[in-house]
Symmetry: C2
Subunit: 240 residues, 2 copies
């Protein structure tokens, strides 16, 4: 009986861990969604609420970290339980970074809201929607242990990287055409970079989900888009 | 006898884990040093060697991850040994990010080497030296279990953030003054941001060292510099 009781309670702890990670995922996703909505609407109210709420994600990460250490110490897990615990630790660290990028977008939105609007406002929302879909899908893949969905997220990162590279060039052109847009465009560049990084963290999570379910790493070589960002962008001839 | 043997071998494994983390730290530090030297000398040879060597850091991270899972499964560690293992996992993930930033600096250097030189080449090396000192010190603090040194690194991050903020404004001014510098300045902005992020990761490592030695988190509130980056930089009146 006693032993039975302990086993059940251990299972409950693993379920609690999984649900804490999902909760943190939902929170990180909501933070990014709010930051991006604030940016599109130039709404400093939403931006400032997003910045203030970041501590909730940090707190959840700390809770998960402590819970993991406690589980490792008291339960001395093996095999798939151990993977469950290690993966929770890894995913929570990626989610914390995603929420950090959301905060950064919200902070830059506070600035941008008081500056003249720059043209490429449509390309960033497109990147944002893709990044949000990736987070949503990768969290589903974690909850459902769905490796096919995880692999699909992993592949979509290339698309996001390509959108970023093209936006990077577009923004540089705007800056060259109008010096008054430089400050705003620079913030937009960093916002786009933040969204591109969110995609990288969603890809990391996809790899952890695969490892969690299959017990081995996802061995395909990672799609590496966005390299063109490093090409030199020459000044348009009219301004050379 | 048998039990004695197992105990010794477990200690050896923990020592090996610690030395793997230090080795990875040395490698990440060397990668950053090379990337920054390449940037200063506009040396595409060093930059390209740095980019190629990044896989060695990634491989070490994977080795550490696997070693950690193996130690947790086979040794079922408690208390301070468990902290040692968890902290190794956390630090290696920060070191991997630091090496990634070094690769990013090297890639941008490949581009910058073919562009006209931009003025603020002195401010970035200053930031770079500080970031390298922080990494070097925090790795020493890990090797020597020296919390005082770790706390000192933690405090220096504020200085790095302030240097970044001031450089950010300087670079924006250059871009406004000369549209031909926009592409190069943008790469320099991202390089500076990468160095600033390296400081954040050194700060994370400092926190892990403190937790490792003291068994409790460093509870001071983290210095938050660099916020001025988000202020609006107005166009100089002469160009408005």
């Amino acid at each position: 009986m006693a032993s039975d009781h302990i086993v059940t309670s251990y299972d409950e702890e693993l379920t609690e861990l999984k649900s804490k990670v999902s909760e943190m995922g939902g929170l990180a996703e909501a933070q990014l969604e709010n930051a991006l909505e604030a940016m599109q609407r130039r709404d400093t109210e939403i931006a400032s609420r997003t910045i203030e709420a970041d501590f909730r994600v940090d707190n959840l990460e700390q809770e998960i970290d402590q819970f993991v250490v406690q589980l490792l110490a008291l339960r001395q897990p093996m095999a798939s339980d151990l993977r469950e615990i290690i993966v929770a630790l890894k995913i929570s660290s990626d989610l914390e970074r995603i929420a950090d990028y959301a905060t950064n977008v919200a902070k830059r939105t506070m600035t941008l809201a008081h500056s003249p609007q720059v043209r490429p406002a449509h390309a960033i929302p497109r990147m944002a929607r893709l990044a949000l879909t990736m987070i949503n899908d990768v969290l589903d893949s974690y909850a459902d242990r769905d490796t096919q969905k995880a692999i699909a997220v992993w592949h979509r990162d290339e698309e996001l990287d390509e959108m970023y590279t093209s936006l990077f060039r577009e923004l540089l052109t705007y800056m060259m055409e109008d010096a008054r847009s430089i400050s705003s465009c620079t913030h937009l560049l960093f916002i786009a970079k933040n969204i591109e990084r969110v995609g990288d963290h969603a890809t990391n999570i996809a790899e952890y989900v695969y490892y969690l379910v299959e017990g081995k790493p996802l061995l395909q070589s990672r799609p590496k888009g966005g390299e063109n960002e490093y090409e030199r962008l020459d000044l348009p001839k009219s301004q050379a």
